[in-house]
């Protein structure tokens, strides 16, 4: 045990004295979570729009007021003629123009319908899409509100409820993803690099000739990273709760336990990588290409798995991150307990055992 503590202490010296790994360990998680949380976002927030109101009657003013008071839009300016629309878009600030036809209110009353033209800046198709959806829903609400006062005529009233994330906050989607990436990065990449470093410098040989057993050496290398990963996970959860107001509906203890499980899965992957990689650079390349890219692209973090082509959907199953993201989304957003995530948990446990198994096997071959 005393030997072991000495080993762990030495490992902390390595981490502490290497500014680069310190940065990866603590700078990156915080930077990433803030970046994903604030900057990279799908939400609409105070988007600038312009209004071309050719009617200027009570109805149009009411609709415009609804837009202006919603937190999604801010009205940049009022246009006087259709010819101005193009110029406004070229300036770039305004993302959408709402055009009310002449005599809007009158037509509404007399014919029962009137037209709004919606022009959106589709240089960024995703944003354009969301903007039109938000505008449409505001108009729809207005429609329903006037219909309520009228009697007669059957009508369908749709009520949408966005379950678990009523405000469609994209940070709810990013936090689980970022947490996954960071735990993977810290655990898998940092351990594989630090083990490869010992090989590269020749100290691994010295350690193997010492009375320490190989599994003690590996354990000694891994334990500091387990501790650091747990600290990271706590930082991320705290940031998401206090800065992004993300709820944790489920049990914090379960969340912690599942995070530790995923940390172990990542560590075992890191150990596996280090049995292949002889140098730190190889270890880093394998970790980045073999782990990071699949985690970002195929785990369902950014692109929904359901809309991927079938072969990719199948491949996504072998990515541990996919299962962990399902687990944390379940716990944090839906508040589910073990009864709903036992399958994912078993898969992660299975993967961990599998990786440790291959590493041990590969290690034995080397020793023969």
């Amino acid at each position: 045990m005393k030997r072991f503590i000495g080993f762990v202490k030495k490992e902390f010296y390595h981490i502490y004295r290497d500014k680069r790994s310190l940065f990866i360990l603590f700078g990156m998680p915080i930077a990433q979570i803030l970046l994903f949380g604030f900057a990279i976002t799908n939400e609409i927030n105070k988007v600038e729009i312009a209004i071309l109101d050719q009617a200027k009657d009570a109805t149009t003013i009411e609709i415009i007021n609804k837009m202006a008071t919603s937190k999604y839009f801010s009205i940049n300016r009022y246009l006087a003629a259709e010819s101005e629309v193009e110029g406004v878009f070229k300036e770039g600030k305004v993302k959408a123009v709402i055009n009310f036809e002449k005599d809007f209110g009158e037509k509404m009353v007399k014919r029962g319908q009137a037209t709004i033209q919606l022009v959106a800046d589709a240089t960024d198709p995703n944003t354009a899409n969301s903007i039109t959806n938000y505008i449409l829903s505001i108009v729809q609400q207005y429609n329903q509100s006037i219909n309520l006062h009228q009697v007669g005529g059957p009508q369908v009233l749709t009520q949408t409820h966005m379950a678990f994330n009523p405000e469609l906050k994209s940070v709810f989607m990013f936090v689980p993803g970022v947490m996954t990436i960071i735990l993977m990065l810290v655990s898998a990449m940092m351990t594989s690099i630090s083990i490869a470093k010992e090989k590269e410098l020749g100290t691994m040989e010295i350690l193997l000739v010492s009375p320490l057993k190989p599994f003690q050496v590996i354990l000694g290398k891994v334990v500091p990273y387990i501790l650091l990963s747990i600290i990271n996970a706590i930082i991320i959860v705290l940031l998401s709760i206090f800065i992004f107001k993300m709820p944790v509906q489920g049990s914090l203890i379960l969340l912690g336990a599942e995070s530790v499980l995923f940390i172990l899965t990542s560590l075992s992957l890191g150990i596996l990588i280090s049995t292949i990689a002889k140098t730190q650079q190889t270890a880093m390349m394998i970790s980045l290409m073999g782990l990071m890219l699949p985690v970002i692209l195929l785990s369902g973090f950014i692109f929904p798995i359901g809309s991927m082509p079938l072969p990719l959907q199948i491949i996504s199953n072998i990515i541990p991150a996919k299962w962990f993201i399902l687990i944390i989304k379940g716990i944090m957003l839906k508040g589910v307990g073990m009864a709903f995530i036992w399958k994912e948990t078993i898969i992660l446990i299975g993967m961990t055992l599998f990786f440790i198994g291959i590493s041990t096997y590969k290690y034995k071959i080397r020793l023969e």
Binding site: K9, K10, Y13, G202, E205, S210, P211, L367
Partner: protein, 247 residues
């Protein structure tokens, strides 16, 4: 070690597939001896040594190191030997003191013993000024001396040195051999691989390996006589070209 032998090897063989890396070598090393294990690169020196220090399993043959069997008692062997690799592997980002403490620790030395050892090393090697410096900042010669001292920390019966003087200047090499003699005087057995033939002259006994086999063995003086050579380098070249002793 009733008979004073600390290493006894008989027909030790290591096979990788069809390739015989070490071909039935046999030799003995006595306590306190400096044993030079010579051979060209790729002759099988390192493979043979790895079997003796317990990190590679022999394919066949017998070997006892420090009185323990290399098949079944590698853990005991590891406790009783020291090892210094050709890379002088200490941790560059740890200070001299931290390195000593760490390696002493993994050999199970108590904190008090380690402190004592540090004190002794500081006086012996005149480390006052560098004891708290990072090892990475030290010249190669220093690293090598430290590396050797670290391999001696737990007072092993045998120390295995794998090409310990690669890449250092002649003066430092000379100083290093003085350290080796000093250790041998205290009764430690030294098993040294090298391909510097001039260094081999300092050994009590050498073996010369060619293509996995030990082609010649004995005290340097005897080998030179037997092969009619002025120095070990000539003996080595003759063996490598496949000639037989004069007699």
């Amino acid at each position: 070690m009733k008979d004073n032998k600390v290493i006894a090897v008989k027909n030790l063989t290591k096979r990788f597939g069809d390739f015989l890396a070490v071909d039935a070598i046999s030799f003995e090393v006595k306590a306190g001896e400096i044993f030079g294990f010579l051979g060209a690169n790729g002759a099988g020196k390192t493979t043979a040594m790895k079997m003796l220090i317990g990190i590679s399993k022999p394919s066949s043959g017998e070997a006892m190191v420090a009185g323990f069997d290399v098949y079944t008692q590698t853990e005991l062997i590891k406790k009783n030997i020291g090892y210094m690799s050709q890379k002088f592997a200490l941790y560059d980002d740890l200070t001299v003191r931290e390195n000593i403490t760490f390696f002493g620790g993994i050999y199970g030395l108590s904190r008090a013993t380690i402190k004592e050892k540090v004190k002794v090393l500081v006086t012996e090697l005149k480390l006052e000024n560098i004891i708290d410096q990072l090892v990475g900042a030290l010249p190669l010669g220093w690293k090598q001396k430290l590396s050797f001292s670290v391999s001696l920390l737990h007072d092993p019966k045998i120390v295995f040195l794998d090409e310990p003087t690669g890449g250092v200047d002649p003066i430092t090499r000379r100083q290093f051999w003085e350290m080796i003699y000093h250790a041998a005087d205290k009764g430690t057995t030294l098993f040294v691989t090298t391909h510097y033939m001039d260094e081999a002259e300092y050994c009590d006994k050498v073996s010369i390996m060619v293509n996995g086999k030990i082609e010649a063995m004995g005290p340097p003086k005897l080998l030179k006589e037997r092969y009619g050579a002025g120095n070990l380098n000539e003996v080595f070249l003759k063996l490598a070209r496949g000639s037989k002793p004069n007699e």
